[in-house]
Point group: C2
Chain length 144, copies 2
DNA sequence: TACCTTTTTTAGCCTAGACTAACTTTTGAT
DNA sequence: ATCAAAAGTTAGTCTAGGCTAAAAAAGGTA
């Protein structure tokens, strides 16, 4: 088969863009999850400790430490050795946006009649893949 | 802070499960994307070639080859050297399920009034994170 | 048939994110 | 104040999934 029609080429490019988007989202996902969780812990308990992150993420301390190093390198968190974790302004902004998306997706799933446990789990995965347009549609649907 | 209340511990575990799910989905995502695409290419053009996968996924030939080796190791595809790619029964089953989910999510987004391009892109990301319960809710919503 | 082009494969490299095990520092209770 | 437990850090390993560059095989055409 050697269909090099403009139609087919256009479609292939569009598809490549979609996958590209997903791969980029991928790289952001872990960062967003960490930042969101750090913000939650700070707001709820007053501080974010690596051990709590590890427990909530279901990974080891070492993994958390690793990832925090990356986030610090990217100026999203700050930390002093053996002390708890803080968000930079940039980190806080990403966390806030992620929390907003998370809530929106979860509430939307709940409004479809999905149980709370499932809505939480699915929202966790879906929130990273919803464009601004889709978020707007969800808001519209929820009458917000 | 040392809140070790049952309530908090339960919540932490639930959250860990959610993230665990997302990480597992992660590992499946690439496989599903490949298998879905291979099935599409076979159905549309009669065969799936690595070069077409690379073009559509927006990655290099070498990357495709790498990943196909993994899929073959996992008995999801078969291949003879320098020949095109085939799905095993297991691979076909995963591809079919992925295509069904993809269509459902896309159609659902379209039904919310989202434009086709955005619906395609977001569906590509979201399809891997929708549980059976959520899929059922989408079907219900679409009246299927 | 010969040869150029296309496609596939291999080799070698990189980063992220996971792990275990061992070590260091801090915290908190006696 | 001491010292054991908790928390954080480091070192070393692994896999997935990217990349580039180069080699090998297949395909198509003069």
């Amino acid at each position: 088969m050697n269909d090099t029609s403009p139609r087919r080429l256009r479609e292939a490019k569009r598809q490549a863009r979609s996958f590209e988007r997903v791969r980029q989202a991928h790289q952001r996902e872990v960062a967003e999850d960490y930042l969101e969780l750090i913000a939650d812990l700070i707001d709820i308990t007053g501080e974010a400790r690596a051990v709590d992150l590890a427990e909530r993420l279901g990974v080891t301390n070492a993994t958390v430490n690793n990832t925090l190093n990356r986030l610090a390198r990217e100026n999203l968190v700050t930390r002093q050795r053996y002390r708890s974790i803080f968000l930079t302004d940039a980190g806080r902004a990403i966390a806030d946006a992620a929390r907003e998306r998370h809530r929106l997706v979860r509430d939307f799933l709940l409004s479809l009649g999905i149980d709370r446990e499932t809505a939480e789990i699915d929202a966790e995965g879906i929130e990273h893949h919803t464009s601004e347009k889709t978020l707007a549609a969800l808001r519209r649907f929820l009458g917000r």
